[in-house]
Amino acid sequence: MLAKIGDWLDERFSWREVWAAIFERKVPHVNWFYTLGSATLFVAINQAITGILLTLYYVPTPDHAYDSVVYITTQLPFGWLIRGLHHWGASAMVVLTVLHLLRVFYFGAYKYPREATWITGIILLLIVIGFGFTGYLLPWDQKSFWATTVGTQIIGLAPFVGDWMLRIARGGRDISAVTLARFFGTHVWILPATLAALVGIHLYLVIRIGITGVPKKDE
């Protein structure tokens, strides 16, 4: 029965071909360092799921943000777990992305024919940092407020356009309800969409070209 359904679907989706291309492809013998990339992807999925759950209760306005986070953390069943996973997952994302980058660098995996994979990876790193930067403001506690104050000040240091960029980031002179709205919008719409697209390209390239083996001493 199952096989019949499989056949039926295969006629239409050619999924066996896709499955073979992705899962049955052969890869060189690799070590544990090579799990860093997939681990990053795993944490990214963790962030997406917990993030979606958080938005169900989170209110992105200065007068309610803090209270809603308190509610999530203290009242909502397993809210502490969801928020805890998201919070620590954020740091894990940065750590894993950087470690993954170092693995690729030291194993010479950015070289021909994987230059494009590397560049999308660097952009993904920037997006991860953007996630961290925008997500930090959302709880609207002292740390968020002041960390964002300092962070946006750094943007303002840019020559010529600094002041302009600062006002775009903050939505005005000061950190306000507009800043929170912008950061929230960026955090839950713009960055995830970009991330999803780039992860798609990144993975396509990884599967199409294949991962490098561990370089030998004479390589």
Binding site: K26, A39, T73, G84, Y136, I154, A158, S176, K217
Partner: protein
């Protein structure tokens, strides 16, 4: 890499792959284990450490040391090495170059060598960058100031953050002379909401203190908040505060607390800030705390601002009361002293008081224990009450604010000037508190109260001003405006209007309901200048002559019988009072009394019912009043003030300041105080009707029975 090298690599990679393993399950297995491990670590962190959450964001808290999140710390630290104009190099140029370098890396390093030992330059450079970032991060963490020990939160700052900062930003520049408490409690017309409903007096005090003296709030948090967590402010009374600092460890409640010699341990600036926080330099509030005990709502003052400053600063030295013996006639002296002993019973002295005493005493009548001492004090004068030397007690800022307020209030348009003008021109007919009374120019006519919230809510300033200026000839009121031949110029008219308007937020001291509560059984003598007309007083004026002072019956039938009470329902009684009755001397009161006054009368007559007490139950009368007036906000969903008035159980037990009702003790029951307008006026949209207030007061006094 040239084409040959590329081909070579691809060939070798192909061979390597063939010797390799299938992605599924080998690689997936490893990945799953790594993912599982990471998930366990994350879940453990979430469980054992949790996601931290600090205090609510407070843009006003300049003491908070701002730090970015940990993965930006290296950048934050790097900035320290690029001071001034060079900052942009650390903040932008270097990170920008690093990112550019990373992106271009595959095109810069195009050698076919892959093992890291075979490309030492790249490997070492990357190592240096990583080590540098690690070093900067660690250095930044180390340089971080130790976490603040004090867990004590600046509550006033937190209140500010929660309620004000979103619109006002980190601080508010308050113009001198603003009645800050009033603005916070009542809001403004420019979109600021009234906070009086959400915040208690304590909290508004704390907010005003914080806004006017944020440093003082910090000092309070540092030194005082450990013990004085509640209330937010130790005491808003400057005289008491002065004692705290003068007496140090000897101050009664500070005994044995070594640190309590605050006058020594705090710097002058800290002390000043602290005092300004605890009693905010808000003139109106300071006047209420410091002056109104003797001067009432306001003082009429005619000197210059400098003189006033000196007067207040030096205090008692100037307060010699003249000896009135000889100035006042025997008769006037008698009236005045009687009035001072008991203003309620001897209203004849009110005019005299207004003429002779109010300029110093304001509208606060000094209390004399008996007539003899009153005669002695008034006759001989002298400094019988010493005004404190405020210059020693108040800070410069407080003194400034107080003088500004008092001066402004006593001058143009302020209620103080209006009070005197009202006493001179209006109180003869309208009563000292605008409570109305018999109309001297039209026999049998009664002047309705003008100080009731009902009256004031339905007339704007312009209307009241016109009435005063043009008079109401139909009712016997002559024009008072100068342009209509009266005595008051424009400024004075405004002052009187302001004084009258002031009753809306500060109902006259002798609130009608308060009197009614004390003596519902023994109505006051028919003297229109006493209080505004309660049902009891209307009864005395209109009914007692024929029906007996206690409704026991005389020419007319008795009211205090079950027969009478059960025979007539309210509507029948209303008709009875409104229209004359053939064959009796009963007149048609509808000419003399307003509809609401007749209703008041009926309400009062009902209290004469021997069964009245029996009807005073929650299920009997109280629940209906609560339902109509309170339940909209005080229900299980909205729960304003934590109070739920929808059921007997909840109304007796719930509330932030529960219990709202103390059976048998109306004077101290929050519900009674609120509907009487003592503290915060409830319902906020306007007072309950007198009869409803009476029912609730009597109900509480009767032990607040349920059935």
């Amino acid at each position: 890499m040239n084409e040959q090298e590329k081909k070579k690599y691809l060939d070798e990679y192909k061979k390597e792959k063939e010797k390799g393993v299938p992605f599924f399950p080998d690689i997936i297995f490893k990945d799953t284990i790594a993912a599982l491990l990471i998930f366990i670590i994350l879940a453990a962190l979430a469980y054992f450490v949790g996601a931290p959450l600090e205090a609510r964001a407070n843009p006003a808290d300049t003491t908070y040391t701002p730090r970015p999140e940990w993965y930006f710390l290296f950048l934050f630290q790097a900035l320290k090495y690029f001071p001034g104009k060079l900052e942009v190099i650390g903040a932008m140029v270097l990170p920008g170059l690093l990112i550019l370098l990373l992106i271009l890396l595959p095109f810069i390093d195009r050698s076919p060598k892959r093992h890291f030992l075979n490309r030492p330059f790249a490997s070492i450079s990357a190592f240096v960058v990583v080590a540098g970032i690690l070093y900067l991060t660690i250095a930044s963490v180390r340089e971080a100031p130790p976490p603040q020990e004090a867990i004590v939160v600046d509550k006033a700052a937190a209140l500010y953050a929660a309620n004000c900062a979103n619109c006002h930003g980190p601080s508010i520049d308050v113009p001198v002379g603003t009645d800050l408490h009033q603005v916070i409690a009542a809001g403004t017309h420019e979109g600021m909401p009234a906070w009086g409903g959400d915040l208690g007096t304590d909290e508004i005090d704390a907010l005003a203190g914080f806004i006017l003296s944020p440093n003082g709030s910090a000092v309070f948090t540092k030194y005082c908040a450990v013990c004085h967590e509640q209330p937010l402010v130790a005491s808003g009374n400057p005289v008491e505060l002065q004692r705290v600092f003068d007496e140090g460890v000897n101050y009664p409640s500070h005994e044995g607390i070594e640190a309590a010699n605050w006058a020594e341990s705090l710097t002058d600036t800290e002390l000043n800030g602290l005092l300004n926080f605890l009693a905010a330099p808000d003139g109106q509030r300071l006047f209420v705390i410091n002056c109104s005990g003797c001067h009432g709502q306001a003082v009429g003052y005619n000197g210059t601002e400098e003189e006033l400053t000196e007067l207040i600063t030096k205090g008692g030295q100037h307060l010699d009361m003249p000896a009135w013996k000889g100035t006042l006639s025997e008769k006037d002296m008698d009236a005045l002293t009687s009035y001072v002993v008991d203003p309620a019973q001897n209203s004849g002295g009110a005019t005299l008081f207004g003429q002779h005493c109010a300029s110093c005493h304001g509208n606060k009548v000094p209390k004399a224990p008996d007539k003899e001492s009153a005669i002695k004090i008034i006759s001989s004068g002298g400094a019988h009450i010493t005004m404190p030397v405020w210059g020693d007690i108040l800070t410069v800022e407080q003194l400034d604010a107080l003088v500004q307020y008092t001066f402004a209030a006593s001058k143009g348009g302020g209620p103080a000037a209006g009070a005197n003008l009202f006493a001179e021109n209006c109180s003869d007919c309208h009563g000292k508190s605008g409570q109305g009374g018999l109309n001297p120019s039209r026999h049998g006519d009664i002047i309705a109260p003008i100080s009731s919230s009902e009256y004031l809510k339905t007339r704007d300033d312009a209307t009241i001003r016109n009435i005063i200026s043009f008079g109401q000839p139909d009712f016997g009121m002559s024009p008072f405006g100068a342009e209509n031949g009266g005595a008051l110029d424009d400024e004075q008219l405004d002052a009187v209007v302001a004084f009258i308007r002031n009753w809306e937020s500060n109902p006259p001291a002798e609130a009608p309901a308060a009197n009614a509560e004390v003596q519902p059984e023994t109505p006051a003598a028919p003297s229109p200048n006493l209080t505004s007309l309660t049902g009891a007083q209307l009864f005395t004026i209109a009914c007692a002559r024929c029906h007996g002072p206690a409704g026991e019956g005389d020419v007319g039938p008795a009211f205090n019988t079950k027969e009478f009470q059960s025979k007539l329902d309210d509507q029948a009684l209303f008709d009875m009072i409104s229209y004359s009755r053939a064959g009796t001397d009963m007149i048609a009161w509808t000419d003399k009394l307003s509809k609401s006054q007749i209703e008041l009368l009926i309400q009062y007559i009902r209290t004469l019912d021997p069964n009245y007490a029996a009807s005073l139950t929650y299920s009997g009368r109280v629940s209906a009043i609560l339902e109509a007036n309170c339940n909209t906000c005080h229900n299980p969903e909205k729960l304003r003030g934590g109070w739920d008035s929808t059921s007997y159980q909840s109304l007796m037990t719930s509330g932030d300041n529960a219990p709202a009702v103390i059976p048998g003790n109306a004077a101290n029951s929050l519900l009674a105080r609120s509907i009487l307008g003592q503290g915060s006026q409830m319902p906020p949209i306007g007072s309950l009707s007198q009869s409803d207030i009476q029912v609730i007061l009597d109900w509480i006094a009767a032990g607040a029975p349920e059935n």
